[in-house]
């Protein structure tokens, strides 16, 4: 047995199974691109508030980051849901862990979406290197 999880026969589980594979392929491009740009070509030495402000002046990078955030977080939360399904069998603990996962996932998605969509450099702040 070398494949991934067996393909479910239908319903939400089948949808989730396909979502993991499709989002996975898109994330390979988005995440490896992000890592190459932000962790290899530029490094944390160069990245600061001004760097992000210049980057998010472009709608392209905001869109890129927003799509990556949604796909990565939903992919990760659904992956952790599968892990909880496999290891947490007591009913009470299942309800608690799945509820906490859903809540934390929702809060993180909301925080990330808010900052990507509404980010604005404060008025009067000079952004180094910005035309």
């Amino acid at each position: 047995m070398y494949a991934g999880r067996e393909r479910p026969t239908g319903g939400f589980e089948l949808f989730a199974w396909f979502f993991m594979r499709i989002s996975g392929v898109v994330l390979i491009i988005l995440v490896l691109g992000h890592l190459a740009i932000m962790h290899v070509i530029h490094t944390v030495d160069a990245i600061d508030f001004d760097f992000v402000a210049r980057r998010w002046a472009s709608p392209f990078w905001r869109t890129y980051d927003l799509v990556m955030l949604w796909l990565a977080l939903l992919h990760g939360v659904n992956g952790l849901r599968t892990v909880i399904d496999d290891y947490v069998h007591r009913k009470g603990w299942r309800v608690v862990s799945l509820t906490v996962l859903a809540l934390v996932g929702f809060v993180l998605l909301a925080m990330g979406t808010q900052i990507i969509l509404t980010f604005e450099a404060p008025l009067g702040r000079e952004i180094a290197g910005r035309p």
Partner: protein
């Protein structure tokens, strides 16, 4: 089911790397949220610039790279009829590709830390 061979190890590593990446993603969303307070954001960057994190960052790249390559392998076995027949070759191709990409990348990422810039 997995008989303790390549299949079991690649499955365990897929889970461990996935959970590690998700943990970092959660921290990363919180740190990016702090952009709302520019000076706090800039002050806290010392954390990511610390040599310990620079080394951890190399392992983050390893986790993402492994999870990506193993994900491709899973998709090949799931959707490509010949995938099952060649699963062992695909596994070894994955190991070779991982090392070919990860070793030079780590060198580039760590040289500013090890040799100064």
């Amino acid at each position: 089911m997995y008989r303790g061979r390549e299949g079991m190890w690649s499955w365990i590593l897929h889970r461990v790397t996935g959970l590690g990446i998700l943990l970092f993603l959660a921290i990363h969303i919180v740190d990016i949220y702090l952009l709302g307070w520019p000076d706090v954001f800039n002050k806290l960057l010392f954390f990511y610039r610390h040599p310990v994190f620079r080394v951890a960052e190399v392992f983050l790249v390893a986790a993402a790279l492994y999870h990506a390559l193993n994900g491709i392998r899973i998709i090949l076995v799931d959707f490509w009829v010949e995938g099952t027949r060649f699963h062992r070759q695909i596994f070894w191709a994955q190991v070779v590709l991982f090392l070919l990409i990860w070793i030079p990348t780590s060198f580039v990422m760590l040289s500013p830390v090890v040799f100064g810039r």
